[in-house]
């Protein structure tokens, strides 16, 4: 939407990254490098957690920065810089997921990731699941990370995005709403569904680690 001069000035004064972007607008290459430095880690993490693989995450991160660079001349601060860049990230992720090539890539990456999980681990998990032994032991380290990842993968695209912005970017509902072009109320519902899904997907592991504490509490 249009940005009034006072809004632009407000963000320029309050957000150092907006000031950096204003320098990028004036073709300051050093400022662009600084922005990439500041945000590449956060974007790679986001794309990695919502997407199929690290390689794709880095490609999409580059796409975000190139979009910003291409459109620098028209930049007007209308939001916190972080909100703006994560809005672009959401668009890039969506476009990528829509394209045919990307779908193919996801399928391949999923297959790859399945292999990366190591057949041994998967077979062990399947065997343990089948025998009902799984809940009897604690899952740890990489295996736990893998279970969390699988739970996150089951979420819908918007639930994953909102969850990651909330968890890793500490964004408020208002900021997430702005980044995802939703109302705060919609974000509240979206995050509730995501958290309930997460709780249910990880129920047996949560029960394992917290059952005793909760039982004590409810007695």
């Amino acid at each position: 939407m249009s940005v009034s001069p006072s809004t632009a000035m407000r963000y320029q004064q309050s957000d150092p990254d907006v000031r950096l972007m204003m320098r990028v607008r004036d073709d300051d290459a050093g400022a662009f490098e600084e922005l990439v430095r500041r945000y590449q880690g956060r974007l790679v993490r986001l794309f990695h957690h919502i997407g199929p693989s690290r390689e794709v995450a880095e490609d999409l991160t580059q796409e975000v920065f190139l979009r910003i660079y291409r459109s620098r001349a028209k930049y007007e601060p209308g939001a916190k810089f972080a909100t703006w860049i994560f809005t672009i990230a959401g668009n890039v992720a969506r476009n990528a997921a829509r394209s045919q090539g990307r779908r193919k890539e996801i399928a391949e990456a999923d297959t790859r990731r399945g292999r990366d999980d190591s057949e041994g681990n998967l077979l062990t998990k399947v065997a343990l699941d089948a025998s009902g032994l799984m809940p009897a032991r604690l899952v740890e380290g990489e295996e736990r990370a893998q279970l969390v990842r699988q739970a996150v993968d089951k979420l819908g695209e918007r639930q994953r995005m909102a969850l990651m912005l909330s968890r890793f970017e500490n964004m408020s509902y208002v900021e997430i709403a702005e980044a995802m072009d939703l109302t705060s109320k919609a974000v509240k519902s979206l995050l509730s569904r995501a958290r309930v899904n997460l709780r249910d997907a990880l129920a047996e592991y949560i029960d394992m680690s917290g059952a005793k504490e909760i039982d004590d509490e409810t007695e």
Binding site: M1, S4, S14, K74, A145, E157, L163, R193
Partner: protein, 481 residues
């Protein structure tokens, strides 16, 4: 983006699946996003219902398990390749490559027969004429597309005229405008430009505005033919009215506001006769103003949040000091407790202290011990100084805020108690944000968030000292002023 971009796995809630209201409230509570009244009610229930506490902890446990996701440091070469790719674009190498194409093309074009070239040219010309005609039509209809929701959902002109007379409506639209909730300059700008100049106008628009225009046009194009006909008919009817400008203004504001209402309320408003409809709208407008007040916290920069939080600390300290006569050393004891408790608990304490007394009779019991048992011994005393921020205290907060947000306060100073409501909402937001900022960041994140100069200084230290310094940065922020 559509709600269901892919089917939900069995047993998982899709974006539009019904959800248990209590889960929604528990999640909002954990995120510090519950409205004060709801939060108080929920805390009262949490205090007395172990099963609800268990439910809360399970939701929190799932959330905490996200911390198990691996750190994903970017490839060290990513920065370099990104800069290089941007540099290639910047120096125009790509464009030069494009410009070189005709020479290469010429050698191939010799193989193309003249007849096929003529046929090709005619086809291209035909397509161009068609494209040109279509583009002109799009430019002509663009203002309608930009106000699509108004024509779709607010086409009852009699009702729009009634609404425009409603005092609450006029006040609410003023508030929305002053808080920056609504901005209708883009449709007006496009409509103000004759069709012939719109192409140039679009080219000069900022990127975000171009995106908005494209999205509006796509929505218009995706309408079913009867719906599109109805929109065009409504636009023609509005254009013939003598109060056209005011009607359009009410229509687009009403359509935008209507979007924020729950679907069942929208249906109720639609179905009601005019007098009841006006009553329903007046009540819903009040709720909207409350929501916008809370949403205005997005204006706060991190620096504003820290400044407000610091003021709240000082205000809390002053309130604690008033207890000295009744309980010598209470200030010292509370300060000692604050030096040891978790940051989130500290924010929780402040929230309890600045909370309005319970209206429902269940909350006479102070909840200072909810997360910090160490504070329970002071609970009866602290309860005596508990209460919402007073006018003087709000002034203390306002006096330390910077220009951009004080400008907003000044803009709404003449509207009822809006200034006070904004300040209270910002105080709440600062406690909420500070609790997350302080507890949610890893060392790596803290490092990335540092000022570049400070980061450069840290880079010169041995790794163990870098970690120590980052921990100290956090500790320094946590101490009670």
């Amino acid at each position: 983006m559509k709600p269901n971009d892919r089917p939900s796995p069995e047993g998982m809630l899709a974006d539009d699946s019904p959800i248990d209201r209590i889960d929604e409230d528990l999640v909002a509570y954990l995120d510090g996003e519950l409205e004060p009244e709801q939060r108080m009610e929920l805390e009262a229930r949490l205090g007395s219902e172990p099963s609800l506490r268990a439910r809360l902890r399970k939701l929190q446990a799932g959330w905490e398990m996200l911390g198990q996701l691996p750190e994903v440091p970017p490839n060290p070469k990513l920065l370099e390749t990104t800069i290089r790719m941007a540099a290639i674009e910047s120096t125009g190498s790509l464009q030069r490559f494009e410009q070189q194409r005709p020479a290469w093309w010429k050698t191939r074009s010799g193989m193309v027969s003249i007849a096929s070239l003529v046929a090709f040219t005619l086809a291209v010309l035909g397509a161009k004429v068609w494209e040109e005609w279509r583009f002109r039509r799009e430019l002509r209809l663009l203002p309608i597309a930009m106000r699509l929701d108004g024509y779709l959902h607010a086409s009852d002109l009699g009702w729009m005229r009634e609404l425009a007379k409603l005092p609450q409506w006029r006040e609410t639209t003023t508030i929305a405008q002053r808080l920056g909730e609504w901005d209708f300059r883009l449709p007006a700008k496009i409509e103000g430009e004759p069709s012939s100049g719109r192409a140039a106008l679009l080219r000069d628009l900022p990127l975000e505005d171009q995106q908005s225009v494209i999205e509006a046009w796509q929505r218009f194009e995706q309408l079913a033919p009867p719906q599109r006909e109805a929109v065009l008919k409504s636009a023609t009817e509005v254009a013939s009215q003598s109060d056209r400008e005011e009607l359009l203004s009410t229509m687009e504001r009403y359509a935008r506001w209507r979007e924020t209402l729950p679907p069942d309320l929208r249906d109720q408003i639609n179905a009601a006769a005019t007098p009841q409809r006006l009553e329903l709208v007046a009540t819903a407008l009040k709720t909207s103003v409350t929501q916008w007040t809370q949403q205005s916290s997005r204006l706060l920069s991190d620096q504003d949040v820290e400044t407000i939080y610091k003021s709240l600390h000082q205000i809390a300290e002053r309130r604690v000091k008033t207890l000295e006569e009744r309980a010598p050393n209470v200030t010292e004891s509370v300060t000692r407790v604050f030096a040891t408790i978790e940051p989130r608990t500290e924010a929780f304490f402040l929230r309890q202290l600045f909370r309005a007394p319970d209206q429902n009779g269940s909350g006479g019991v102070p909840r200072f011990d909810f997360l910090a048992p160490a504070l329970s011994q002071f609970a009866p005393l602290l309860n005596q100084i508990r209460g919402p921020l007073t006018e003087d205290e709000l002034y203390v907060i306002e006096s330390v805020l910077g220009e951009p947000v004080t400008g907003t306060l000044a803009a709404v100073a003449d509207i009822g108690t809006l200034r006070e409501d904004l300040l209270r909402s910002w105080a709440e937001e600062s406690m909420r944000r500070m609790s997350w900022n302080r507890s949610g960041t890893t060392l790596n994140e803290r490092y990335l968030l540092l000022d570049p100069t400070r980061r450069d200084q840290l880079d010169l230290l041995p790794p163990s000292e870098i970690i120590q310094s980052l921990r100290a940065e956090d500790g320094r922020r946590r101490s009670f002023p």
